[in-house]
Subunit: 347 residues, 2 copies
């Protein structure tokens, strides 16, 4: 991302527990790589984040909350030294009032709703904003998000970009943040001052246009619990889902929807062992799934054998395509309850 980005600062989105991968493990790696701005959902996540950074790094670090105040008070944010991305005119007024009462300018970012319709000040809100309301605020950043971030050619993107330029021209000067991962790939017109990199950090493709150079950071392995030989005609799984058409060897994996996989995974996906792709049989239960290993050599699989469920051979992107969901659905949901092992930064 560094080689592509022409703006001022690359920052990291680690909301939703670093997209389900573990905020406490991932933030220090990003900080070691020089990252000094982070985006989380709320004050609770911001405090978790700050707790894992050494104080020398913390002094240089800005943590933004994308939910705005999210139910906390301006005083809570000031005390925690966390910067809310204000989500509404009401939050601007609250923070302005707090700053005036305390006699200190309050550090905030402000979301602008340029077309997503979700959070931030609309054009009407900006019209209603007198300079008075903003004066007590130390505005660190204007923030917006593309509604068609995943479709670079959608004309909506350019409409949002022009609206952002128009709104910020009428507002006090501050750095502007528009691009998320895919925005960086869309080229310098979209870069502005601060890019918020989420999916790309984790190696997930979130654009309909291929984003070169992203490396999946995840693998999901599941162990075999039992291997059994079954005759042709035997049925396996709930309600006899699969009838075996030949004498089969079936490996039962400790893997199921209790690990965050959608039930459709067993039809859309495969299991991998030493590069061999193996089909699932018998559906998916909460914690168990069965794999047809008949075609493997004798002895290739037994209790304890680890099969690869997600990884370079079967990426989250390809699986999301097959399942018809957003890749980040799988990134955030799969493996939630599983034991995590972190293999280091890999240089």
């Amino acid at each position: 991302m560094r080689s592509r980005y022409t703006g001022r600062e690359l920052s990291a989105v680690v909301k939703s527990d670093a997209y389900g991968l573990g905020l406490e493990a991932i933030v220090p790696v990003l900080a070691d790589a020089g990252c000094r701005s982070f985006w989380v959902n709320d004050l609770g996540e911001a405090l978790r984040l700050k707790a894992v950074l050494p104080s020398a790094v913390l002094r240089e670090t800005t943590v933004y909350t994308l939910f705005g105040l999210g139910g906390a008070t301006p005083g809570d944010f000031e005390q925690a030294a966390v910067v809310p991305v204000l989500a509404s005119l009401d939050e601007v007024w609250q923070c302005g009032g707090h700053a005036r009462r305390s006699g200190r300018r309050m550090a905030v970012a402000i979301q602008l709703d340029t077309g997503l319709g979700r959070l931030g000040l609309t054009a009407d809100d900006v019209d209603r904003l007198g300079g008075d309301h903003l004066a007590p605020l130390d505005i660190r950043c204007w923030v917006t998000h593309l509604a068609a971030f995943d479709c670079p050619d959608d004309p909506m993107n350019d409409r949002q970009r022009r609206m952002l330029l128009d709104l910020t021209a009428r507002l006090p000067q501050a750095p502007v943040s528009l691009a998320s991962s895919s925005g960086v790939f869309m080229g310098p017109d979209w870069h502005f001052d601060i890019a918020r990199i989420g999916s790309a950090l984790y190696g997930v493709q979130t654009s309909s246009r291929w984003q070169e150079g992203l490396v999946p950071c995840y693998r999901l392995l599941a162990p075999v619990l039992r291997v059994a030989d079954m005759p042709a005609g035997a049925r396996v799984g709930y309600r006899g889902t699969t009838a075996l058409t030949r004498p089969s060897r079936i490996a039962t994996l400790a893997l199921g929807y209790g690990d965050g996989l959608p039930q459709g995974f067993v039809t859309a996906g495969l299991a991998f062992l030493s590069g061999e792709a193996l089909p699932f049989v018998g559906g998916m239960a909460m914690n168990l799934t069965m794999v047809d290993v008949t075609d493997l050599l004798d002895g290739a699989v037994g209790p304890g054998t680890q099969m690869e469920i997600l990884g370079p051979r079967q990426t989250i992107d390809s699986l999301a395509d097959a399942l018809g969901c957003a890749p980040n659905v799988l990134l955030t949901q799969v493996g939630a309850g599983c034991a995590h092992r972190y293999l280091g930064t890999g240089g």
Copy 2:
């Protein structure tokens, strides 16, 4: 369940972190209610479970692991005083060997594969079992599971029941466990000695036949972050998913697939506020969803208002029906990363 069950003992299934609800919070409540047998997936969960019980209760409590040895050794189980539900002939041999070497009988349960094809001894395995192999084992329980547990009238259930009777007649005497929640509702023929109650504990219907008296134990609430008025024709959500057909008031909720919801939830489900059902608009993002609140009275909704997403008005069962997934998919996945509040046993 007590009023329905005619067998010897009702036990609790708290695998997968108590179906995603939090093993550490739920196990003590069940223990207080008199439960003394628990089923988890593996030794790691068993140790978490034992850590939350007072020693007087622990002495009377049996913890079974449904993954069998699941990669641990017979010695690990003996040391932890946890009972593996052996998943294969190989595990029977391992435990028998361990017991002979140690000179102590080893406590185990043994899974019988009566037709699910997933775990346990097949009829062929039972033929190959000499009495010698079982002699050093203290068999606490024979365990099997119905493949058509959710379809009480499926003839497969009776075939499994008859096979269980046939197999256990050829094996050493020990309590038999066949029924899970739905098996208890199927009547005394299905009760045997120990019932393993999972879904019913949490108030989730898992049978095609209505199970009277189950009370949903869960609620999922999500707070409003912003309320905005938008003109007719405005588009909201990624790629302008929804075009507003009238001037609308839109509430943005802190709720998304990062909270374990499937993306289809926003079309299959509704949000509830004071009994009013409200439709979602604009799709679902990782952490944000929008609700059309135009029809509510002025002032009925503002930042901080909590909407009900799951609860008595919209149960997991009804939503799973609409989404075409197993109810336990939602029970285990939704709310995984959310703050949990436990409201006590409710008498």
